[in-house]
């Protein structure tokens, strides 16, 4: 047993850090520190910087542009990005549809889509959830009927993250209603510019418009955009959801948030004292940090196990990463909210925040924190809610 990283791993970490220091656009960096949202252009520009370095899709197979790293290198890379902090693109292209395409897609699809994903030529969104199909995803109703060289798609998707930016959507659609629900689903790639698609934004509790409803009204999709075989989409979706848990523990993000908590709490005065010096506050921060340390070690256990390539024998500890990671992310959001205190109350719209025309109400770092707190509610819902994670662990690991 040994906690130390190798010299090569240390050197790699330093290389990543240096790259981030040199290449992360300062304005974007500042926004992320302040919990503010990025524009589409900012995210795309950053994705291209990564791609130029060859780091946009490091986890892909080498022939498609992957970096050929060890699991520990992936871990270090992810952690450094999260801690800097800088976000990779919402991973709909790179981590979700990309791997489905290179695993199950045909040559034409690989050739066309993969380089475009790596270079953020296309923005992808995920069309899985529907009004009647959330946790019970397989009950989805959106229909695709074959008509010559096309599928004709009718139905509705919901909670589609950043669909307003998207060029493409990957959808689960029902191609065969006559069989067991998991067996009649197909995986379709749909151009968002297709006639018959309507995107309607949904405002969330943080005041922003991160998710959407999408309506499909006789949308004609070329049959060549089917991935793999018709009616096998559920298998591909399960594969994809397995990948979704990739860096879901967000240890680096939570570490960075705690640093931010400490930085801001050192600026806040409570009477004669700084907030950071208050014993009760310190204990709260320590309690979260301790949980986070345990999660970090749990994640390292999983990562080093993966390095040994015991294929198919997934470490049971990996199951807790999403569950505990969500809990801790939300706890860091709680702490930030507590640091701001009463000045969490004023609501400043994103436009006002962006324009900077009005002087801030309260501390100039306060405005984005309550929205970020509200936004963090999502982490225990998406990618399989806490309850669903527990169902999975109970069944798959505990044998209940």
């Amino acid at each position: 047993m040994d906690l130390a990283f190798t010299n090569e791993e240390h050197a790699f970490r330093e290389e990543v850090r240096q790259f981030l220091r040199d290449r992360v656009p300062p304005e974007m960096h500042r926004k992320l520190i302040e919990s503010r949202n990025l524009s589409r252009d900012e995210m795309v520009a950053w994705a291209r910087i990564l791609n130029k370095k060859g780091w946009a899709v490091p986890h892909w197979p080498k022939e498609h542009g992957g970096a050929g790293w060890t699991p520990v290198q992936h871990y270090i890379f992810g952690e450094e990005l999260q801690m800097y902090p800088v976000r990779d693109l919402p991973d709909f292209g790179t981590s979700l549809v990309g791997p489905v395409i290179y695993t199950f897609g045909n040559e034409a699809q690989k050739k066309y889509f993969l380089p475009r994903i790596a270079n953020a030529e296309d923005w992808w969104c995920q069309g899985f959830s529907e009004p009647g199909a959330g946790s019970d995803l397989a009950s989805l109703q959106t229909r695709a009927v074959r008509d010559g060289d096309h599928y004709v798609v009718n139905g509705q998707k919901i909670w589609t993250t950043l669909a307003q930016y998207a060029d493409w959507i990957f959808c689960l659609v029902r191609t065969n209603p006559g069989v067991k629900k998991q067996l009649g689903i197909s995986f379709l790639l749909i151009d968002m510019k297709s006639p018959g698609i309507t995107v309607r934004p949904i405002q969330l509790i943080d005041g922003g418009y991160e998710v959407n409803e999408i309506f499909f009204d006789d949308v004609r999709v070329p049959a060549e955009n089917l991935v793999g075989e018709e009616d096998k989409g559920w298998d591909y979706a399960k594969f994809l959801l397995g990948n979704e848990r990739f860096s879901i523990a967000s240890v680096g993000t939570s570490k960075e948030r705690i640093l931010r908590v400490k930085e801001l709490a050192a600026k806040c005065r409570v009477g004669e004292e700084r907030l950071i010096d208050r014993a009760t506050f310190r204990e709260k921060v320590a309690a979260v940090e301790i949980q986070l340390k345990a999660l970090e070690v749990t994640q390292l256990r999983v990562v080093t196990n993966a390095s040994k390539e015991q294929k198919g024998r997934q470490d049971p500890a990996s199951a807790i990463l999403k569950l505990k990671g969500s809990e801790i992310q939300q706890a860091t959001a709680d702490l930030l909210l507590e640091v701001v205190g009463p000045y969490t109350l004023p609501y400043v719209s994103e436009e006002d925040l962006e324009s900077g025309n009005e002087p801030p109400i309260g501390p100039d770092w306060a405005a984005a924190i309550a929205p970020a707190y509200f936004n963090a509610r999502k982490v225990s819902i998406y990618g399989g809610s806490d309850e669903i994670q527990k169902n999975i662990i109970a069944k798959a690991i505990l044998g209940l």
Partner: protein, 343 residues
């Protein structure tokens, strides 16, 4: 970065676990508890045969040559059974002190009989008033010719009654809560002037209150600097906390496995109770806490050799706090609230 055990460590783990499986079911434990000492002398002899009592020492001193990982392995297995024997008191606590501070002559005298199971030790660090403050020492050590004379009361001495020798912290100088002026002294369990009042603890082990009235200590039985022992006491307390973390993980794992078995066999309302989602989720909550605790036990073990004292102490405190919380975690409803609010 490596969480694997070496080949020898795996063998050690197998052999301790097998011993526990074969000889330390709960019924065994009940029976051992009724023996005169309150534990099993036969098991103590078995531990010696397996080399467990020589573990944290180098081979040169008759020890098995192990370190923090070995202690973790043994304590985790012992935690499954909640063994009654004075392993923690003798090997982790008192021998921890010897390992760090004893002279070569002292080691040569004490290590072989401990490793062979012929000598048990205890470490008397606490006093009735000291609570968690290891520096709060009122028991006095007066110079007595070339040696020392000890007087005072030590409390909660784990396995103090069974100990052949007791390591006693006593004050040679300074005020009762000063960091400086604390020494460590070896006294025989039956030394003139030493009285022991033994009692059972909540978990069925044994402890003792010990009073010392002019107990004479020969110069050869002073361990290290008679005024500068506190850093070593802290160090051993850290190691002991790490060992207890491993013991707790063994205990959690066993409780979780017993609970799972019960969930799969107990029937109510015509079905196994494990089919009820509320109970499934509680079992998952336990599992999450178990894995988090396991991570922390590994973490402290690997941090045991960390040269940076602050880093090491932080790691140990974090692990102890995490495992203490996990032990009490009940269900998801207490989730972030228990994490943040009750901290």
């Amino acid at each position: 970065m490596d969480f694997d055990l070496s080949e020898e460590q795996r063998l050690l783990k197998d052999s301790v676990e097998r011993l526990i499986l074969e000889r330390y079911g709960f019924d065994h434990r009940r029976k051992y508890q009724t023996e005169e000492a309150g534990f099993s002398e036969a098991m103590w002899a078995r531990y010696a045969e397996l080399g467990l009592l020589g573990l944290p020492f180098s081979q040169a001193h008759g020890g098995f040559g192990g370190g923090a990982v070995e202690t973790m392995i043994v304590m985790e297995a012992f935690g499954q059974a909640l063994i009654l024997e004075p392993y923690f008191a003798t090997v982790v606590l008192a021998r921890g002190i010897l390992r760090h501070r004893a002279s070569e002559a002292q080691k040569a005298e004490l290590i072989p009989p401990i490793a062979e199971g012929r000598m048990k030790l205890a470490f008397a660090y606490a006093e009735p008033q000291s609570r968690y403050d290891l520096f709060d020492v009122q028991t006095g050590a007066e110079k007595d010719g070339d040696g020392w004379m000890l007087s005072g009361t030590k409390g909660l001495v784990l396995h103090g009654e069974a100990a052949d020798r007791i390591v006693v912290s006593a004050r040679t100088a300074g005020g009762s809560r000063d960091n400086n002026g604390i020494g460590l002294f070896l006294v025989a369990g039956d030394a003139p002037g030493l009285r022991r009042r033994g009692y059972p603890t909540q978990d069925g082990l044994r402890a003792a209150e010990i009073t010392l009235e002019n107990v004479r200590v020969e110069p050869a039985d002073v361990i290290g600097d008679p005024a500068g022992a506190l850093p070593i006491i802290f160090r051993v307390a850290d190691e002991a906390a790490g060992a207890l973390c491993a013991e707790a993980v063994g205990c959690f794992a066993e409780m979780h496995s017993i609970t799972l078995k019960y969930l799969k066999t107990r029937e109510q309302f015509g079905t196994i109770i494990g089919s009820f989602q509320v109970l499934q989720h509680r079992a998952v909550d336990m599992f999450v806490e178990l894995e988090q605790s396991r991570s922390m036990a590994m973490y402290v073990t690997m941090m045991a050799g960390e040269g940076n004292t602050t880093e090491r102490e932080r790691a140990i405190s974090a692990a102890k706090a995490q495992i203490g919380q996990s032990a009490k975690a009940r269900s998801a409803s207490s989730r972030s609230s228990s994490m943040v609010a009750s901290a």
